[in-house]
């Protein structure tokens, strides 16, 4: 089995896995980073969203062999103290219900804010439309992204 050296959350981590293993399962099963969630496995729900090279990426369909030297950012590395403007806004707005989709929601929003620090309502809706929240927390997700964008 090949060994992959991955740059994750600013650290070099290593995993012995088959080339087609999705980044999601490398993170969860091999590197102990379980904040990134498995929802559908077919790039439909966004629960597994991480950043690869700064862009929102669905790790459930992204093979580890494609990562190469690109930096990977997961929810665990989004901020050191859990105080990224989105994380603070998520708490302030009290977004989460069951909470399972929220890491993926936050990572999707973080990639948006990085590219577009002051997104319009339409930008937010268009971007977040790809992430499913089965609990229906969409109103607060929208509100929290907006709030974070005003504070960042």
């Amino acid at each position: 089995m090949p060994t992959y050296k991955l740059q994750i959350n600013g650290k070099m981590l290593q995993a012995d896995v088959e080339a087609d293993t999705p980044l999601l399962w490398v993170l969860r099963d091999h590197l102990g980073l379980v904040g990134t969630k498995y929802g559908c496995g077919i790039a439909q729900c966004g629960a597994c969203t991480v950043h690869v090279n700064g862009g929102a990426t669905r790790s459930c369909v992204y093979p580890v062999s494609a990562v190469g030297s690109s930096p990977v950012l997961t929810i665990e590395g989004l901020s050191e103290k859990g105080d990224h403007p989105l994380q603070l806004a998520w708490d302030e707005v009290d977004v989460a219900q069951c909470g399972y989709c929220q890491a993926g929601q936050i990572m999707t929003a973080a990639a948006l804010l990085k590219k577009t620090p002051k997104p319009s309502d339409e930008d937010i809706a268009n971007t977040m439309h790809g992430n499913i929240c089965r609990c229906g927390a969409y109103h607060r997700i929208r509100e929290a992204v907006k709030l974070a964008s005003t504070k960042a």
Partner: protein
């Protein structure tokens, strides 16, 4: 505020109870019994008759143990809020522990919107008792009568200027006799209850901490996935696992019942190997398709053997003498629960006992079922609860926990058993598909003189709620149901039965109001006034509370006043609470668009305003989303939708604005996890009728003609 998962033995340690303090034990299911002081040693032994604890440590930290599974209903926040209110605690000093399964927790489940209503008085009494003891301890220390002392925000004070923190008083308070007649606060003095308090687990959720069953990893643990028959009505015939077993990382393939489990060293290796299984199935029962069900619905509606659920007066006479008869039929498809977190459970079956960890709405059920399955006494089985990534009723069943235990027992290894999303959707326990026929008899002045409802459902049990409104308001009424038994498995789905019955019934009442030439709101109020003045038979709902939400909904939505939008009305009573909704529809390029939904809830006293709003808004989005977009259909016994690419769930751009209001009547809490969902489909269908003149007779609405061009 922080919280951790906790075994009862760890309670003292985690509640910082090392330097002495006050520990009250109370009995979670015995509402009448007063709390009792518990000695540290008794808790450590883990064998006393208390199942909830409230402790106050020398450092002032207050720890409350919450026994109910948390799946997003926010019980881990609202439960301690109630205790803290009566205790006059400083909320920043309150810690919550998620209790593990305990023999004594008799209502340690999440379902039926019952957690807060059940524990309301109990939790208040526990808090008030501790407060009284702290006051007594301070009074003794200072030499004043207790009546002169008072408590607020974690301190006891006396008008002389004396002041002591709860932490300093806790040890002395533990020596004071437990009062049995504490006075509960007047609700006008509530400082925490009814306010918006943030979810105590927010920080962990937004930083990706391991909280869920899926996040359980253990040294030496193996991963398992199970191949089940893809069609209902089939059973296992033969397995050729050679190719799967030869794959890297695969430890074994084991067969039990109709299941083939692939066990390996990582999730991905198991997923890949599983595709190489060659499994043959053979017929074991009826192989049904949605087309068959559609035909069955029509024939059983006329010829099925019906069970009478309620009969008042003489319906035949009422219909014979009617000036006008209205008939309407409505149908709803099967639905999958599809919580975001797929089914999973950890099991370690060893010679000395069984360890279970995972998400379940019924932990006690999981343990007793595993006990029976493996013939191991319950006291040799521990169950640690994880946070649930959604439940919606699916995790009332413990089939996946049993599978984990069975595979662990076969493999003699710790196992994490995981379902894929496809397994979740094709693996059964669905909301049943149901068709309803309603008939109404009207007299010459448009009064409802007769009412008939027949529900025909597939594995739906009683698909009616015979004692709900309009029962009690109609002199002549007949409600019955027909059930078709199918190999397709069904189960409770958030707001069981009412999640589709309410849509059908509220649409039909709209039809009747229209036929009677009456405004839908006025028509309902008229019926309720009649039920009040001249009740027919047994009435199980509170007429005044229902009138209350209807009137408030009409007021808040400006019912009938805004001519630019088409409004639809709906009101429903379920799980002891009352919710009225008004949906507003606008036409955009020839299509109806749902712009806004007003939801007015009477759930008695709101505990956490934030959590309550979440439940109502989430319930509306859930009710709207499923009515609008979701269906699970079958072809030759197999679910046709297998993942989110074909099973459509509502997404952000599709949500209407939702405005929530709560009736403030001071009644004890009556539940809110489900009641906001049932009315939504009806309000939306009625608004769309208003806008288009078309009745939406089946779900999902998106498949109906009015939406044809945009689906």
């Amino acid at each position: 505020m922080e919280n951790v998962t906790n075994s009862r033995r760890d309670f003292l340690k985690k509640s910082a109870m090392t330097g002495g303090g006050l520990v009250l034990g109370f009995n979670w299911f015995n509402v009448e019994a007063a709390p009792v002081i518990v000695a540290d040693s008794a808790i450590a032994a883990g064998n006393i008759g208390f199942n909830s604890y409230l402790s106050i440590a020398a450092d002032g930290i207050i720890t409350i143990m919450s026994p109910n599974p948390e799946l997003g209903q926010n019980i881990m926040t609202s439960f301690p809020m109630v205790v803290a209110e009566e205790l006059e605690a400083d909320w920043t000093k309150v810690k919550v522990l998620q209790a593990n399964l305990d023999n004594k927790f008799q209502r340690q489940l999440t379902g039926g919107s019952g957690a807060v209503p059940h524990s309301w008085k109990l939790l208040r009494t526990a808090g008030a008792t501790a407060k009284a003891m702290l006051i007594q301890a301070a009074a003794q220390k200072w030499g004043f009568p207790a009546a002169e002392c008072s408590a607020a925000i974690g301190f006891v004070t006396h008008p002389s200027g004396k002041k002591s923190g709860y932490g300093d008083l806790a040890e002395a308070a533990s020596k004071v006799p437990v009062p049995t007649d504490v006075k509960l606060k007047d609700r006008k003095d509530f400082k925490i209850i009814g306010t918006r308090v943030r979810n105590v687990e927010n920080k962990k959720i937004v930083t990706g901490k391991p909280l869920f069953g899926m996040d359980v990893y253990r040294e030496g643990m193996l991963f398992a996935m199970v191949q089940r028959p893809e069609s209902f009505g089939m059973k296992l015939k033969s397995v050729d696992a050679a190719a799967a077993k030869a794959m890297p990382g695969i430890v074994d393939v084991v067969t039990f019942k109709n299941n083939v489990a692939v066990v390996g060293k990582s999730t991905w290796q198991v997923m890949k190997a599983r595709k190489l299984l060659k499994v043959e199935y053979e017929k074991d029962g009826a192989i049904e398709s949605t087309d068959d069900h559609n035909k069955l619905f029509l024939s059983l509606m006329d010829t099925g053997t019906a069970t009478v659920r309620r009969k008042d007066g003489d319906v035949d006479a009422a219909f014979k003498n009617a000036a006008k008869v209205v008939k309407g039929e409505y149908q709803c498809p099967f639905l999958s629960h599809s919580p975001m977190e797929p089914m999973n459970f950890f099991a370690d079956v060893r010679a000395d006992g069984i360890e279970l960890i995972g998400p379940t709405q019924t932990p006690a059920g999981a343990r007793s079922q595993v006990s029976k399955l493996l013939n191991v006494p319950e006291d040799k089985i521990t169950l640690q609860l994880t946070r649930l990534g959604g439940g919606f009723g699916r995790r009332l069943q413990n089939d996946y926990a049993l599978e984990a235990a069975e595979v662990s027992s076969l493999m003699k290894a710790p196992i994490k058993l995981v379902w894929s999303k496809e397994d979740d959707m094709t693996g059964g326990v669905y909301r049943p598909a149901v068709r309803y026929r309603f008939e109404a008899a009207l007299d010459a002045s448009g009064n409802l003189t007769g009412y008939k409802l027949r529900g025909v459902g597939i594995n739906s049990g009683n698909s009616t709620r015979e004692n709900n409104f309009p029962s009690g308001a109609v002199d002549n009424l007949l409600i019955d149901s027909v059930e078709h038994k199918s190999p397709i498995t069904t189960g409770a789905w958030r707001a069981p039965i009412t999640n589709f019955l309410a849509y059908a019934e509220q649409s039909f009442l709209d039809e009747v109001a229209q036929a009677a030439g009456k405004d839908p709101v006025a028509f309902r109020l008229e019926l309720l006034e009649k039920a009040k003045a001249k009740p027919v038979g047994d009435i199980r709902y509170d007429i005044n509370r229902m009138i209350g939400v209807i009137k408030l909904a009409a007021e808040k939505s400006g019912w009938g006043k805004n001519k630019n939008v088409s409004q639809g009305f709906s009101v429903y009573f379920s799980h002891a609470s009352y919710v009225a909704q008004v949906a507003e529809v606008e036409m955009q390029s020839g299509m109806p668009v749902v712009k806004k939904i007003f939801a007015i809830a009477d759930c008695g006293q709101v505990v956490n305003l934030g959590g309550a709003r979440q439940q109502v808004m989430g319930g509306v989005v859930d009710g709207f989303g499923h009515a609008m977009y979701s269906k699970l259909s079958f072809k030759d016994g197999a679910a046709e939708q297998k993942n989110y690419n074909t099973y459509r769930l509502i997404r952000m751009k599709e949500i209407p604005e939702v405005e929530t209001h709560f009736v403030d009547n001071g009644i004890d809490p009556t539940g809110l996890g489900e009641p906001a969902l049932p009315p939504t489909g009806g309000a939306v269908a009625n608004a769309i009728f208003k806008a288009t003149g078309k009745r939406l007779r089946s779900q999902p609405f998106i498949d109906q003609d009015v939406f044809k061009a945009i689906s």
